[in-house]
Amino acid sequence: LGKLLDSPKTAWIGRPVYRPGLDNLGTQQPCVLIYSHLLPGITNVTDRAVYYGFYPWFIRAFVRRYLDADGNQFRAELRKADCLLTLIAQRHGFVTSDADGSRHGGACPGTQKLGPAVQRLSPTEDLSLSRFTDRAETNPDRYFKNVLGGLGQYYLGVLRDEMGVLIGDARVGIKFIQEIAHPIADDFASDDEEALFFNTLEADKVSLQDLDNLVAFCPCALADGWRPNAQARLIDLIFGDSRLDQPKSSRRRNALGLLLSYLNECSGSATYDTVQSYLTACYSASFDGKSAWALPEDYEVVRRSWALYVRNEMLSLAWLGLFKAVLDCLDGLPKPIFSVAQAANWLLKQHEFAYRPKMDFDRVISTEYEDLPNLNASDNEKHEVQVWIALTKNPVSPLPLAVALLQKLIARHGAGKGVYNEVGVSREDLSGYPLNLETLGNQVRRWSGLSSEAWMRSLLIEVLSAHQRVAIRKLGQSGEDTLMIRTGEGGLFVDRLIDRIPETQPRLQQTLQIVRDLGLCEPLVPGYVPRLTERGLEKLAALSA
């Protein structure tokens, strides 16, 4: 062994982990920062309201039942509890034949493994919970790899960092804050329900009858009014009613309030996409595409923040559209190109990049400014929102659309500074992300006076440089290789392509689901904006009071 440890290794160099990064230019980062600022406590993986109560309740109940339990016991029971809840929800969705399955087991941890299992289960059979909770790599039925299951993977961060209900993690252990967790746990389930749930866990097997007996735990029970105390408590928690002194609670409350206002204004009207309609309303300051949307100041601040998100999203799509066009054009054998300037020159000679704005940069912007419709008129074909929507539909040639969107954004908003001040995004937050609304201002000043050819060249250099900087920085930070274009010994080549221009997911889908889980709106089906329920109207009124 000693000899082995003294020896050198002669080998080919191994490659780092490859990840197809979504934010290849770092343009999405400001969007992420903005929606994180607006909706603290709701993330892209916290889809269901029930878990904000279920996990605190379970942990408190576990501690009461097994006072001296160690971490291993806790993890084992937590994972079983996670599975059991998903099984209950899946079973209920199956029994009710609800067309809207998302009310029941949608987005519950382990649905992919547990859904089919419960569907196959006959009335005379049992399912072993441990079969799904065993973390062995060889276990084909493992519901989740994370040691703390759905809590560790999805909800722990928000319950700890944003809601202040829990502290700790899988390594140091989980603790609950008594003052906050006790009321949630008290209201989440009765003692009888708790006993039934834990007895099932201890038996480590469930039949369909057991699942039906535990139906009160189905996520739909909150919205359907079967658990009014839990519903009220979770509305209080998620809207931050009891914690108005906390800035994060206050921001989340206002963001939810504006969303309820929008749902109320739309009153179930038809829409292509509720999230995009809402964001369009925020950006254009009009929920009907015609008149201005009058809002109280608290909500107006939120609307402006979402408008800024949309503005950054449009900028991101424009840059990424240009980047996609670059990748598609450069694809093929390595080309004798060794700098971004050479690459830009080469691209401009290709027919795919024959497009040029009709005038020099300054005249393009001034003409665009003259032609832009009113901000409220988002249905107008010349409105930037229409170009945004077109870019999200994966156009064959994104280049003209990307350039047009950039022009419109510049013409509409100019080149101001301090763009992100209102959403708490600092200069440091954006260091390492070279393409954002703040840097756009600097770029506009540099582009002034450029011919259309020179402007296009500058755009290409910006996009190629940004990718290199962002991807190599990521390689240094995380060790993940996300480079899409490389310059090797043989010249420049495209390593990977992107299928479609990536959009950010601003947590609004999750927010709508949570609002719906809380019984504040219904239904959540494609084609229509959800309508506020009586409870939702009451909540909106209370928020406005």
Binding site: K3, L4, L5, D6, S7, P8, K9, T10, A11, W12, I13, G14, R15, P16, V17, Y18, I59, R60, V63, Y66, A69, D70, G71, Q73, F74, R75, V147, I167, A170, R171, G173, I174, K175, F176, I177, Q178, I180, H182, P336, F338, S339, A341, Q342, L464, Q468, R469, I472, R473, L475, G476, Q477, G479, L483, T487, G488, E489, G490, D495, R496, L497
Partner: protein, 612 residues
């Protein structure tokens, strides 16, 4: 013997150094082509995380000029955060060596890997590495490669004094480095005044050889190296593995008749590369010589070309570096690198070779057409107010641009003739480090790098010394401190390393634990009150070990210094009982004008007892 490992994640190794508490003191890396962004954001970041303060990068001067011309590959922190040395080797400065100096976990990697993203993450590159899985590095390889690099560094005009200090520091760190026997391996490298690389190889592998195996992406036009191999070792066959898609083989017909070209691919990477549009570029360079009795494998930077191996002939030779392996190590390397696939690989047809030649010639022509004139890169010397630029003439210098994320034209730059040089001055401001592009009337004249000598000298100090100075309140005059620290290190700290704070050690231990360890140690859940998680801020902070060391050093300095005037300053406005006990003890010591024989040892022994 070593186990067979076909792939070694060199970048992962570097990135893992910090987690492994490698406590790297310094690094010295050489490259031909450079992506400055990659070095600074990836390699340097990993080194700095692992504690490395003194980082040195040697780059081929012409390639460095190319890197400077592209804002994406331009070094931005050079001169301030690391020592950047352009090397003009006549031919190419081509070695790819990474030396990491650490008492516990040193690392040497010698291979074909340039400091670019392709070199470390995408190409098929070959390396021989000590320190990745081994317990140390062989002293002879470390010393030979260090001497090789320092000799080349000294050729950069203007850095001589700094290089001397670097040399002294690195030699000292090297002497403390964990070593393993260097049996069966020899470092060979070419520098002026030495025999050609091929002659050096001939000394190690006298020949004749039954077979020679070569892998290379580049070849000299007339295949002179192959002619020399055929003459020098009289092999029955020379098998040359190439990647048809990329090999720069312009005149295959020039090969001796015993040469057989075959397609070669490095053993497949374990890592998934789904969706990659191009195969990895075969950039590794390997030579294997099979003699009657033994196998030798040469791994390093030299391509199968005359400039790489035949220095001293007509064209200017390259600086190259490689390691020759023999015996079991060579056998293992042969297997690991997949060279056994060469022997039975089918020969490429004449038509295939002709196709390769046509493609290679087209690339050569395109490259010549696109190539910009070479711009010299020089090391500037700091003057009282500006930069001295050796080798330039003031009449040629028109303007200057400060290179950075965005180029900054220096409108108030002036140039003044000095003996054999030009002094650059900037009205109203002094730039202490960075890179300038000096422009002539019709374009760039030169790039000039100014390494911040005082700052880099600080980085030469051991980490502990820097922290002690910091703790002592950033005293203005460091003169003599290094000697004092030396004493302190030897007498007080002894051989114990205090380079890592306790916090880092514990966090490193935590991070290196396996998931199952974490799980085992996790306590069960508990409920706690809000009040219990509010930290009490009223307690007096506990002095950490580092603060104690600083206090003790203060005591030592006080004892060595002449008695201070008692009239200077007011006593501190603090009650004795409020004073920290350790400080009270130090302040109670009466200054001694001189130490009696043996006093120093007694004092430091007392300090050690207190400190540890």
């Amino acid at each position: 013997m070593s186990d067979v490992v076909s792939r070694l994640g060199l970048l992962d190794e570097l990135r893992a150094l910090a987690k492994k508490s490698a406590s790297v003191e310094a690094s010295l890396i050489t490259t031909f082509t450079l992506n400055g962004l990659f070095y600074e954001e990836v390699i340097l970041r990993a080194l700095e995380r692992a504690g490395s303060r003194l980082n040195i990068l040697l780059v081929d001067a012409r390639e460095l000029a190319i890197a400077f011309q592209d804002p994406n590959t331009r070094p931005r922190r050079a001169g301030k955060d690391y020592l950047l040395i352009p090397v003009d080797a006549g031919g190419a400065f081509h070695p790819k060596i990474a030396l990491l100096f650490s008492p516990k976990m040193p690392l040497i990697a010698i291979g074909s890997h340039n400091v670019t993203d392709s070199g470390y993450t995408r190409n098929d590159e070959v390396t021989i590495c000590w320190g990745s899985k081994s317990n140390g590095v062989p002293r002879d390889i470390l010393e030979a490669s260090l001497a090789f690099n320092l000799d080349w560094a000294r050729t950069s005009v203007g850095l001589e004094e700094l290089i001397d200090k670097v040399s002294s520091r690195l030699s000292r760190i090297s002497s403390e480095t964990a070593v393993v026997p260097g049996k069966s391996t020899v470092f060979i490298g070419w520098r002026p005044g030495e025999k050609s690389l091929l002659q050096q190889l001939k000394q190690r592998v006298p020949g004749p050889a039954r077979k020679i195996f070569l892998i290379s992406p580049y070849f000299d036009d007339n295949l002179e190296l192959m002619q020399e191999l055929a003459i020098g070792w009289a092999p029955g066959e020379i098998v040359v593995g190439i990647q048809q898609q990329s090999a720069m083989l312009l005149r295959p017909e020039k090969a001796p008749s015993i040469v057989r070209f075959v397609e070669f691919s490095a053993p497949a990477a374990i890592e998934k590369s789904d969706g990659q549009r191009q195969p990895p570029f075969l950039h590794g360079k390997v030579m294997a010589l099979e003699t009657e009795s033994e196998l030798f494998v040469v791994v390093g930077s030299p391509n199968a070309s005359a400039p790489a191996w035949l220095q001293g002939r007509g064209t200017e030779g390259n600086a190259e570096a490689a390691v020759v392996l023999e015996g079991e190590l060579a056998q293992t390397a042969f297997e690991a690198l997949g060279l056994n696939a060469l022997a039975n690989a089918p020969s490429l047809s004449v038509a295939a070779l002709a196709e390769i030649a046509v493609r290679a010639q087209a690339i050569r022509q395109m490259a010549e057409k696109e190539s910009a004139p070479s711009i010299p890169v020089l090391s500037a010397i700091a003057t009282e107010l500006g930069w001295l630029l050796p080798g330039l003439e003031a009449k040629d210098c028109r303007s200057a641009v400060l290179m950075g994320p965005q180029d900054l034209a220096l409108s108030k730059a002036t140039f003044h003739p000095r003996a054999g040089a030009v002094e650059f001055l900037l009205e109203g401001k002094k730039i202490s480090s960075g890179t300038l592009r000096i422009d002539a009337e019709h374009g760039p004249l030169a790039f000039a790098i100014l390494n911040d000598r005082p700052h880099l000298l600080k980085l030469l100090r051991p980490r502990e010394a820097g922290r002690l100075l910091e703790a002592l309140g950033r005293i203005e005059d460091y003169e003599g401190f290094d000697d004092l620290f030396d004493l302190f290190e030897r007498h007080v700290l002894g051989s114990e390393s205090i380079s890592l704070p306790t916090k880092s050690q514990s966090s490193a231990q935590t991070s290196s634990r396996s998931a199952s360890d974490d799980e085992q140690s996790m306590p069960g859940p508990r409920g706690i009150s809000l009040a219990s998680i509010v930290q009490s801020m009223n307690g007096r902070p506990q002095l950490e070990k580092d603060d104690l060391v600083a206090d003790f050093l203060k005591a030592l300095i006080r004892d060595l210094a002449p008695p201070a005037s008692k009239n200077e300053g007011d006593p501190p406005d603090i009650d004795e009982e409020d004073q920290d006990p350790s400080k009270r003890q130090a302040s109670n010591s009466e200054p001694a004008s001189s130490l009696p024989p043996g006093g120093w040892e007694r004092l430091v022994t007392a300090c050690r007892k207190l400190a540890f």
